[in-house]
Symmetry: C2
Subunit: 398 residues, 2 copies
Amino acid sequence: MPASAPNSQQEIRRRNLSRVLHTVAERAPVSRAGIAARVGLTRAAVSTLVDELLRGGLLTELGPGRTGGVGRPGHALDVGARGPCGIGADVGVDRLVVVALDLRGRVRARAEAEGDHRDSDPDEVLARLAALVEETAAGAAGHGLAPAGLAVAVPGLVGRDSTRVVRTPNLGWPATDLRPRLPRSLPLTVDNEANFGALAELWHGGTEAPADFVHVSARIGIGGAVVLGGELLRGARGFAGELGHVPVVPEGRPCGCGGRGCLEQYAGEEALLGAAGLPAGHASPRSRTAVLAERAAQGDAAALRALRDAGRALGVALAGTVNLLDPEAVVLGGELAGLGRFLLPALTGELASRQAAPAPVPRLLTSAVGTDGPVLGAARSVVRAVLDDPMAHAPARA
Amino acid sequence: MPASAPNSQQEIRRRNLSRVLHTVAERAPVSRAGIAARVGLTRAAVSTLVDELLRGGLLTELGPGRTGGVGRPGHALDVGARGPCGIGADVGVDRLVVVALDLRGRVRARAEAEGDHRDSDPDEVLARLAALVEETAAGAAGHGLAPAGLAVAVPGLVGRDSTRVVRTPNLGWPATDLRPRLPRSLPLTVDNEANFGALAELWHGGTEAPADFVHVSARIGIGGAVVLGGELLRGARGFAGELGHVPVVPEGRPCGCGGRGCLEQYAGEEALLGAAGLPAGHASPRSRTAVLAERAAQGDAAALRALRDAGRALGVALAGTVNLLDPEAVVLGGELAGLGRFLLPALTGELASRQAAPAPVPRLLTSAVGTDGPVLGAARSVVRAVLDDPMAHAPARA
C-alpha cells in the first residue's frame, strides 16, 4: 500500500464517535440501544464510544427510564446542556449580532447592537463586535458552555480558507484581516453572509432540504450562494455565488462593482425602496421592508410596480442561473422571503418562460430559517466541526 | 461495522489494477520498476497486478531492453495496440462522425458523413449513424481492437443517466431514446455534445488543465459545460450547462427555447452569419466560419461588427457565469476557438468590467482539442471507463 494510506483504525473510530454524537444531537434524549439501532453498530461498540464521549465531557447521562420504548429502561444520553458551543457573529450593514449555539442547535446566549456601518472604520466596528463576542461567550460560560470557535459572516468577499475580507461594497472597508481584531483565544473562520445563510438552510432542512439549490437573499445587497450535492460551492478563489452581480440589463444602471445593469441595481433594497418612492433612511432593514410590504398590501401602485419589476429582474438572473446549473430548487431568503408573495408572480413568470430544459421548473422555496440565517449558519458551522470530530474539541480530554 | 462497508480487499485490488493500467496508458513503454516508482507500490505487488492485466489481454509485453534508464533491462509494457477500445460518435447538425480510440487515446478508425440534420427524422439519422458505428467497429477489429462501449454526443438535452434525448432544438427531434436504434452489442452512454467537449478539454490537458472551468463552444447553437473540481456538473436532472440560454438582453430576440434574448440569439452561428450579411446556407460549419474569419481578416466592416457584438454578448453571459461560479478559467471551444482573435477584445472587455471580485479575471483559454472535442470526449469516456475498472472490460478473462 502507498505511504499515503490513512490510518484506518483511527479514522474509523473518529467517524464512529462522530456518528454517535450526531445521533444524540439530533434525537436526545436517546438510549445506547437507540443509538446502536440508528448507526448500525453493536450495543457493545456504542457503549465504548459513549464512554469515551462521556469522559470527554461531550455527552451527559440522564437518570434511568427517561427514554420510553420497550425493554429494560436505559440511562438516556443527552448533549448540549454543558460542553462545547459554537459562537456565530454577523456583521450586517446596520447591526451586529452574536449568538452561542449549543450542540443541539439551541441559541443559549445572544448579543446584538444596532449601528450604521456604511463607509465605516473596520477597527471600530470590529472592536464593538469583539465586545459582543466576549459578552456572548461569558453568557454561554454562565450555562457551563465553552466556545469551540467563532465564525463571522460578513457582507463581502472573503478569500478561500482565509480570515481576510477583500471587498465589502456596502461597508466600504479596505481589505481587512479579521483575525488580529477578534478574541485570539477562539479559532476563527470568516465567510460571506450569503454562504452562511445557505448553509443554515441546508442544515436546517434535514432530509427534506434539497441537496442542489441556489440561495438568493437580500439585505442591503443581493447575496447568493450555490449548494451542489450538499456542499457549498466556493469557487477557485472563494468568490462564487455573486448573484447580485449577474447582469440583467447589459447597458443598464452603473453598479458599485464597476459593472453595469447588475441584478442588485434592480432588486436590491435601495433600488426597491427608491422605485417605491420610500426613503432608504436608517430604519432597520426589517422595518423598511415591512413598510414596503404594508404599502403593497394596501394596493399602493408604486410599491406594487417596484416589487413586480424587482421580481422580473430576479427572474431573469435566476433563469440564467437555472439554465447553467439545473438545481433542484431556488430558495429565497433574507428580506426577500418576507416579500415573496409580491415578488413571486413576476419572478416565476420569467423563470418559467426562460427554461432551456423541459418542465418542471425547479422548486421555488422561501427560507425555512429567516433573516437570522447568516448568524445561525455561522454558529452552526462551529457546532458541526465539533460533531464531525468530537475528541478534537473535548473540553475534558479523556 | 455496518453491513454497507465496502469489501476493501477487492476494492483496493481494483483500484491498484486501475492505477497500473492508467500509468501504462500515459507512459508506455514502461517497465514494472517504472510503474512501481510511479504508483508507490512494491515491485512485487506491481508484477502480480501486471500479470493479471496481461492474462486479461489489457497489456502487452515488448521485448527486453526497450525502456532505457538504469539497472537491469526490464521487459517493457505497452497498451493499446490490441485489446479494448472506445467508440465515440457525434451527431452534429450537419455531419456524423464516429471514431475508435485505443487505450492510449490514439484514433485507430474513423468514419464520417455529411448531412443536413435540421428538422430530420431521428430514425433515419440514427440508422446512418449505426452503419458508421459498425464500419468503425469493423475497422477497429481489423487492428485487433474490441469495442468496450459506445458513447454518443448529441446537440441537445439528455436526461441524467439516460440514453434518451429530450430536447434537440437544432435537430427538431421529438424525445428519442437512442438505445433501440444503435448496435445492441455495445454498452451505450449518451450525453450533450458540450459536456463531452468539456471532458475532452479536461482529459486532454493533463496536469496543466484547470480543474474548475466553464467551457463554451459554438457550432450551430451555443453549448456550455461547467467543470468543478475536475468533475462535470450534471445538474439535478442532467441539464446543467445551458449557457446558450442565459438571457443577455431581457426583452430581446425570441429564442427557440421559448425565452427571449438568449445568448444563442446574439452569438450563435445563425446570428453571427446574419449580422455579417452571410447566408447560413448548407456549407459545413467549418467553411462557413472560415468565410466569416476571412472577411473579418480583410477588414470587412459588417463581419467585424458582427464578431464584436457577439463577443460582447458572450462577455455579458460569461460575466454573470464567472460572478456566480468563480472558475479558474473560461475555455472557448468549437467554432468559437477559430474566431477567437476577433471575439476576444470585446469579450474580455465586458468580462473585466463586470467582475464582482477583485482582479485577476479568470484565465481565458482557447480549446486545446479543436472542433473534434465532442467525438473525442465521447470515445475517451469509454476508454476511461476501461482504465478505471480494467478487469470488468478484459477481452480475455484470466
